[in-house]
């Protein structure tokens, strides 16, 4: 029972980071109907960027984050203007392949700029473990959870209350209607990419802070958030939260109980097995819209 509780708690805490990263994919999909396969690479890229600013340029964490924001805006603008805008109206394969190729470009840039073994952030959080009953939680996990919660709340407030957030929601509903109201739709797309990359960056930073800045695991992390999005439903923000936590829980439980049976490494593949099962049973996810197509 203690083992089970431990798995549930750690799975829940990891799942909150998954939820945050899945949110990035959902935002882009809602705004521009592009499914972002490059998410994992962008997660890794932002983690490396912040590492570079903190370690090579000796900046404080807060300045590192502030400096990386304009870089993210430029990247978001370039992605939208140079790649996705010319592909508007093309079949879905074009956007899929464009984001996949983009993922490889970003991966290549990471190997080009930061080759070699994994890196670690300088410690800026208190380390330690607290015990609640029989469950051990590291302080880092709690801080991660709080940061995820704050990021989520901040985004929801922006999305529900601010004028720009409402404009984004309107654009997600209907591009033409939004355009006739004077909304610059392309700017909203850039904004969506900007927010998504920030979410990816926060998630990547938190995970890299716990497990080290390493290209492969961070990309795999982004790939797992694909499973989260499929479970929750493509269009649903609530689905991203529930899906993230569910995948985190299932992964932790699957790894905890199945690892001894098959010899380790279950958590690498478990989200994908879940993904295939969801696609077989409930292809549009828990909260996704069921599409009705006409010829």
């Amino acid at each position: 029972m203690a083992f089970f509780l431990q798995l549930v708690v750690s799975g829940f805490l990891t799942g909150s980071v998954y939820a945050l990263m899945a949110l990035g994919i959902v935002i882009i999909y809602k705004a521009s109907s592009v499914f972002n396969f490059a998410h994992g690479s962008i997660v890794a890229f932002t983690a490396y960027l912040i590492w570079h600013l903190m370690v090579n340029l000796h900046l404080h964490i807060i300045f590192a984050v502030i400096i990386s924001l304009p870089v993210i805006i430029i990247i978001a603008y370039l992605i939208q203007r140079l790649i996705l805008y010319p592909l508007t109206g093309q079949p879905p394969l074009a956007a899929i392949m464009a984001t996949l190729a983009l993922a490889e470009v970003v991966n290549g840039a990471i190997t080009l700029f930061w080759p070699g073994p994994a890196r670690t952030y300088p410690k800026f959080l208190p380390t330690g473990t607290i015990q609640i009953g029989t469950v051990f939680i590291t302080l880092e996990e709690i801080v991660n959870f709080i940061i995820c919660g704050l990021a989520f709340t901040g985004f929801m407030l922006f999305f529900q209350k601010s004028k720009l957030g409402l404009t984004m929601r309107g654009t997600a509903e209907d591009h033409q209607l939004a355009r006739s109201e004077g909304v610059k739709v392309n700017r909203i797309f850039v904004l969506a990419w900007f927010i998504a990359i920030i979410m990816a960056g926060i998630g990547g930073f938190l995970m890299a802070n716990m497990h080290g800045v390493n290209q492969e695991p961070l990309i795999a992390l982004g790939m797992k958030s694909l499973a989260v999005v499929i479970l929750g439903g493509m269009e649903s923000i609530l689905g991203a939260v529930i899906g993230g936590i569910a995948i985190g829980l299932l992964e932790a439980l699957g790894a905890g109980y199945l690892d001894p049976l098959v010899g380790g490494g279950v958590e690498e593949v478990f989200p994908f097995i879940i993904l295939v099962i969801i696609l077989l049973i409930k292809p549009y996810g828990l909260f996704g819209y069921k599409r009705i197509e006409r010829v």
């Binding site: 991966n107 593949v269 993904l275 197509e293 006409r294």
Partner: protein, 352 residues
Amino acid sequence: MLKKPCGTFDETYAQDIACIRTPFRAGLLILLLLFIFIIMPLVADDYVLGIMNVIGITVIAMLGLNILTGYCGQISIGHVAFIAVGSYTSSILSEHLGWQFWATFPSAILVSGLLGLIVALPSLRIKGFYIAISTMAFHYITIWIILHGGDLTKGVWGLPCEFPIFFGISFDTERKMYFLIMALSVLGTIMAFNLVRTKFGRGFVAVRDNDIAAEFMGLNIFRLKIMAFIICSMYAGAAGSLYAHYLGMITVEQFPLIDSIWYMGFLIIGGMGSISGAIFGAIFYRLIAQVVIFTAPMIGEAFPSLSVSGVAGFTQILFGVLIILFLVLEPRGLNHRWQITLSSFRLWPFPY
């Protein structure tokens, strides 16, 4: 629409459905076959033949992907997983049971086809990028199973695989393998070329263009999609089996997800939905990779700060940018350009 030279008319049905319509084209085809099977082995050294061998294997794999994605419209980012399954089936049968190539090759095709059937099952209810994601998940699961296969797959250590032996002759050199690989890729091309002219090939195109409309017209789209997946994975299995027997040793690192993306991307660069496009894509893919191998030392000299992995990163950036450029500027690929050139020659001196 294939344009014919002025004055060439189809007067019988046999002429209308003929693959080779004019004596000129027949001559070109014979010249091409002569070039592949007689001139190349005479003039080329082992290094060039090695490149040609890899191109031949890639052509087989690319033809399969072209049938699934180019003709049937189902996006697959798990193509390398099928190739891996073909490779490993061959190697396991060769290593553990001591089977010969003539037995492992069809078995690899069958096992891959069976797996294609399983992967195709979700396609009943989903389409578009959902299929892309499910094939990608399938890739991760396959590689994981291979890594944790214990004695059967030897995990990260990889498996040896014997060279093909026919009638006591071992195909252990590039030159001998060249004939086998080229013969099989020409055979695969002819099969693919004929397949897309059949009832099923036209059904695939109907499903690609609009699956609901295709269903309204009485096509069983689920069956067609499953068929496309099976044919695609069988081609991949054949390519994988050849690859294993050609290299003599396979490890799981030879089948990364990124290669599936390159297959898909270079199929687009070559031109989707046409056999010649798939062949162009395969050739372009391997030639660009060769160009990178040649220029890598120069890049290393020009930027000494880059490490070996930095040059690998450069390859990724180059391939990715190429794919994006083709998507944005010429989504119909090299084949489209080739057809424009051809028809302008045929119609000369008239503009159209």
